[in-house]
Symmetry: C2
Subunit: 296 residues, 2 copies
């Protein structure tokens, strides 16, 4: 399969879109990459950094001759952008996205207004905390997971091309049902972000009674709340498009936490130790320590 793509349009040239452009160009996977956005200064910067060959603030013109349109706008704006893009692209054009939730976008794109335009949902799991094209890197996707979420409507050829591109920029491709993706993302990412925020708020609220609580903060609290410093706008969009998954994950999580706390309260040391040890065993199996980092 020939992966060389003539013209790629990147709509939203931030960390992800910019890194995708850099990776395609560096690996010779695209002839031309055009950046599309609202802010000329930011687009100029993207061009200077080598993320795009050219740029425009005119969405219609930017996507008109593209063989692939890469939508990396905030999640909450994707469907709106795609509906504006579809009428202007040429027959056979493939549209993909980089959003952190996949069910809502997949429902919205299963009935595109043109059958000769193909959508493939995607979620590159890389670098969500930094922001902006200045943080973009051509190797951002190397060894990262790149989830593709085809539906029954998805063209097999379009999926194969996206798989080839994602592997071409160094990612491990995971193909998943969009609904399953969102359920899993709620468990391993979205709920953890809410938990981090709630933990910080707990410390804040507790400080009204015990002002010294902040003095005791050590590594565990710092690590566990790191993602509470993420962008509120970004996480608003992500969470609001995955409310069902988050509710389900929360209910199970609160049940499991209450189980542990219940064992502490009943002073059942043996059962509590077993509860904790079972989690430790699972984690030690599923998480491989980073080289040189003490995870003991």
């Amino acid at each position: 399969m020939n992966l060389q793509i003539k013209r790629v349009a990147i709509v939203g040239v931030g960390l992800i879109g910019g890194s995708f452009g850099m990776a395609l160009k560096e690996r010779g996977l695209a002839d031309t990459v055009v950046g599309v956005g609202r802010n000329p200064e930011r687009l100029k910067l993207a061009q200077e950094l080598g993320a795009v060959d050219s740029w425009t603030t005119d969405l219609d013109a930017g996507v008109r001759d593209a063989d692939l349109v890469y939508v990396s706008t905030p999640v909450g704006m994707e469907l709106d952008f795609i509906s504006r893009i579809v009428p202007h692209v040429k027959p056979g054009c493939i549209i993909t996205d980089a959003g952190s939730t996949k069910a809502e976008i997949s429902r919205g794109t299963d009935t595109l207004s043109r059958p000769d335009v193909h959508f493939v949902g995607g979620h590159p799991m890389a670098g969500s905390e930094a922001a902006g094209v200045e943080a973009a890197r051509s190797d951002l996707f190397v060894n990262a997971s790149y989830v593709l979420t085809p539906t029954e409507q998805t063209s097999a050829d379009a999926l194969a091309l996206m798989r080839g591109l994602a592997e071409g920029i160094g990612s491990r491709v995971i193909v998943m049902d969009p609904e399953a993706h969102d359920r899993c993302a709620a468990v391993i990412s979205h709920l953890p972000h809410l938990i981090a925020a709630a933990l910080v708020s707990l410390a804040q609220e507790h400080s009204k009674n015990d002002p010294q609580v902040f003095d005791l903060i050590a590594g565990s609290f710092r690590d566990m709340t790191r993602v509470a410093s993420s962008s509120p706008e970004l996480w608003r969009d992500i969470c609001l498009t995955n409310a069902d998954g988050i509710r389900a994950a929360t209910d199970t999580f609160v049940r499991l936490l209450s189980q542990g706390v219940g064992l502490v309260e009943s002073k059942d040391g043996e059962a509590f130790q077993e509860w904790f040890a079972s989690a430790k065993q699972t984690r030690d199996e599923i998480i491989k320590p980073k080289v040189g980092q003490d995870e003991a």
Copy 2:
């Protein structure tokens, strides 16, 4: 105040006890440090590593001539050890501990069988995840918080000596009421450990429906569950001696989490963004990024 102590006995020469011995010796704060434990091989190793000058497996003999006894056994065994130590020490001896909870030990030591022996509760907040004297370092306490938890029964001189020693080994001393310490520790350490374990168990349980959940694990989940890989025995003892604090922290935490999830479910984007942003602002204020580490 002369901080030079003639003879220090360290009961339980692991990471904390061993590091305390190394720090005292390196900074010339004690003439002689004797290690007391059960396992001759481990005690020999402690001596080889420079944590103690001599060692014994005989508790009574080890503490007999000590001016300071440092109890760094597992939390659950401290009161038992202290009650065995008290009858054998000389008048004026100071006993301190290094346990992660302070209310239970303080209640137990407020009525020591000898009025001429002084207890000062302590909690050096350093390096709780590695274990054993082989992980001990003379600089473990440098720039760490060292909490001291006097009660109305605590001798002012004994407290002043412990403050001097803790500062002498490089720590920032925080003086707190033992009950307040435990309430705060529940918020910033004990509940977070339970949450980490519950999050791992959630992923494990979810994998029965969506086996691909583990494939999606990225940095946020790894960081947030790191402390679930801690020692189950250690955390059993810590949690069981702070059940009230953990219950109170859990109730507030679940209320705050449910608030956030409720805003997601009601699709109130503005209110959710504010909820998240308020936590972000608090965190950005209370946690100073480590130099060279991106906490953006």
